[in-house]
Subunit: 218 residues, 2 copies
Amino acid sequence: MLIGLLGGTGTEGKGLALRFAASGAEVVIGSRSRERALAAADECNGRLGTRLIHGTTNEEMIAGTQTVFLTVPFEQAVAAVSAYHGSFRSGTILVDATVPVRFVDGLPTYAQPEAGSGAELVARHVPPGVSVVGAFKEIPAHVLAEVETPLDCDVLICGDSREARETVMAAASLIPSLRPLEAGPLRMASVIEHMTVLAIYLNRRYRRKGARFRVQGV
Amino acid sequence: MLIGLLGGTGTEGKGLALRFAASGAEVVIGSRSRERALAAADECNGRLGTRLIHGTTNEEMIAGTQTVFLTVPFEQAVAAVSAYHGSFRSGTILVDATVPVRFVDGLPTYAQPEAGSGAELVARHVPPGVSVVGAFKEIPAHVLAEVETPLDCDVLICGDSREARETVMAAASLIPSLRPLEAGPLRMASVIEHMTVLAIYLNRRYRRKGARFRVQGV
């Protein structure tokens, strides 16, 4: 399994790199800057004592990876996808992990795009032949990056292509203590993105950083 | 603790009646029909072997109860609250457990009211002096009614009055294996109502009936 991270030098990207590499997957951190990508890869490899994490430009990462996680902040998601439009190959899976949240009067609030959800907005900007899957949206980046902490939670995975969903489910299932749940077509992303708003609220309310969800009874 | 149920003869109402009475609270099931309320109370008392559950008209229940759960289907919520407008006393807490969901192409979909959420819509229709709290929205009625099954989940409680929220948190904490989490002002209800959509989806997808949520890390 080879995992690419588009804009992967932030907390979300490094968190996924650590989790996937700790599970034995090979990871390519992409960045606008090759140097920053290499530095992030070195940092993550150092933490794990592996050499499974590589760093390169976003272009090179996209050209060589079939499963690409979009790990920029939501505000940069459309620009990031559009900037590398020409680099995507047909058949690439773009896993959107971004969430449109803003603070209104100090309260985290879902900033619903006109497309219905962040994932659906991103899907409007990918080249034909690229499937968008929403995943890892409701797991705080901070807890992903705490690679010693078992996740003990579920990850909700939605998308319009069944094959693409199943590839991402298989990738997620590599991570111990994380259970992938199939959450339907891409328009269910709005539901999952709302859960992120709740996680942010609960983290602030209860002064924690790792609020995440386990579905009981399933 | 005395719990009233407005329109409490359905699965949601009976489920809450069973859970609260099994925890030692006194419950009044209200209905448009005194006979149906009495029959539902008898049925629930019979299942528990208690006499803690009573039945009467919605008017009498509202007049005698400070904490009233709204347990009709969402489509009837505004009409139910409006119909008993004159019966509410100032200081009553109305706990909205309804969720606006409809099916679109076979997929459960959040039917967002213009007010922002079902709870905020209900709040527009209560008399002055009545506080609306959103709670028990994301726990399937079916699993509430299976009173032998430990809930092993959280219940998210939101509302604009801190005192009202805390009263409902205290009520919820009577139920074993249920953890109340404070989820902010009433406009957070939209987030919680979205979770119900996910629970419905997962129940259908995984052929279960009791999908519910546990927040990890809090």
